[in-house]
Symmetry: C2
């Protein structure tokens, strides 16, 4: 069996995993891109978006590792797109274009039904209206023993954490303040949840922590 993981999820010094006011122009909310600067400059990221160059140090290794042994991805609706309510605009196919970087089945949590979509490169988007437990069961069916990644955003990760489903969590602390936004750990007692094994890895642009349970 694979594990249920959060991978390279970036937070600010003040604990925010996304800024306020997510929109088409600001997919990560106001100042949200500051969180991910460490990843954007890596060779792995630049290759993903069809650019050359990029750093090849510790941060690149951490970011590259994100895509290893992944069997399925679960994400919240806000991570999939800025549209709210019914899927009026069924043309929306995620932020990532025709060939998304997942290459595995992706399960999108939503309150509104929608047909599955097959994208290029092996990514399928499946829409789950029956909650996180169902999403996990569906993901397990197709993950072929590989890991299931809880991709985000903050609210989705918090739900999985509080339900006790997460085996391991990898967070990346960026040296920035957001000031406001969605706080990842506020009101969640990670110590009580058992995440007391903490390994730090220092990257060029962020400090990474792998959190596992006792």
């Amino acid at each position: 069996m694979g594990k249920i993981l959060v991978k390279h999820f970036s937070i600010s010094i003040d604990g925010f995993g996304a800024g306020l006011s997510q929109s088409l122009e600001n997919p990560l909310g106001i100042y949200g891109t500051d969180l991910h600067k460490w990843a954007f400059v890596t060779k792995t990221f630049r290759t993903m978006i069809g650019e050359s160059g990029g750093t090849e140090g510790v941060d690149n290794g951490v970011f590259h590792n994100t895509f290893k042994n992944v069997g399925a991805v679960i994400m919240g609706r806000n991570m999939f797109g800025p549209i709210r309510g019914n899927w009026k605009d069924v043309e929306w196919k995620g932020w990532w274009g025709e060939n998304p970087p997942f290459h595995v089945p992706v399960f999108v949590l939503t309150h509104h039904e929608r047909e599955s979509m097959e994208m290029k490169g092996g990514t399928t988007f499946n829409f789950i209206t029956s909650g996180i437990k169902s999403a996990l069961e569906e993901a397990k069916k197709v993950a072929q023993g590989k890991d299931i990644v809880i991709g985000g955003g903050v609210s989705t990760i918090r739900q999985f954490l509080e339900a006790g489903y997460i085996d391991e969590m990898e967070i990346s602390l960026s040296p920035v303040f957001l000031g406001s936004g969605e706080n990842l750990f506020s009101g969640i007692d990670m110590r009580k949840l058992g995440f007391n094994k903490i390994v730090r890895t220092v990257g060029e642009g962020a400090t990474h922590f792998v959190l596992t349970r006792d």
Copy 2:
């Protein structure tokens, strides 16, 4: 003129600068000592408490730097001791014994008047009942142009931050969760306060950030 600083103030990944339930046995609250492990193992700290040995790396340098160019210290009453209300027990002379590690005038914020105390090694404890602005004015009078350090705890630092008095802040992020306690930045928008210059220094046991204003 010296600056008004917070120096090497330790927080957890989940943002807490002290645990719950401070007491005589737990001066830093439950799990609070975990925050300071990085400092406790340094040569500077071990020398302070009369022990030999200790590390001499980056963390030691950061901790050693804490005591440089300090003209006065301001602290909250909880940092001075576990006693609340009137100073019934005037025998209490702080956590640090007869020769406290400050060696300069210390101003303790309290609602209850008390006579100043002269300790060994140049530390004096002065009790200020008229608020943080008065404490700052008194500290400036005696600091001889050196820096004034806001020592803590969390509530005191937050008051000085929100009043706009802090020029520079040095925090040390320890790779631990506290789960509960006093959160340093919760509800404080450091970006709006202007703390957008952030320099990271990686120590052996903690990740240090120097925060200055634009």
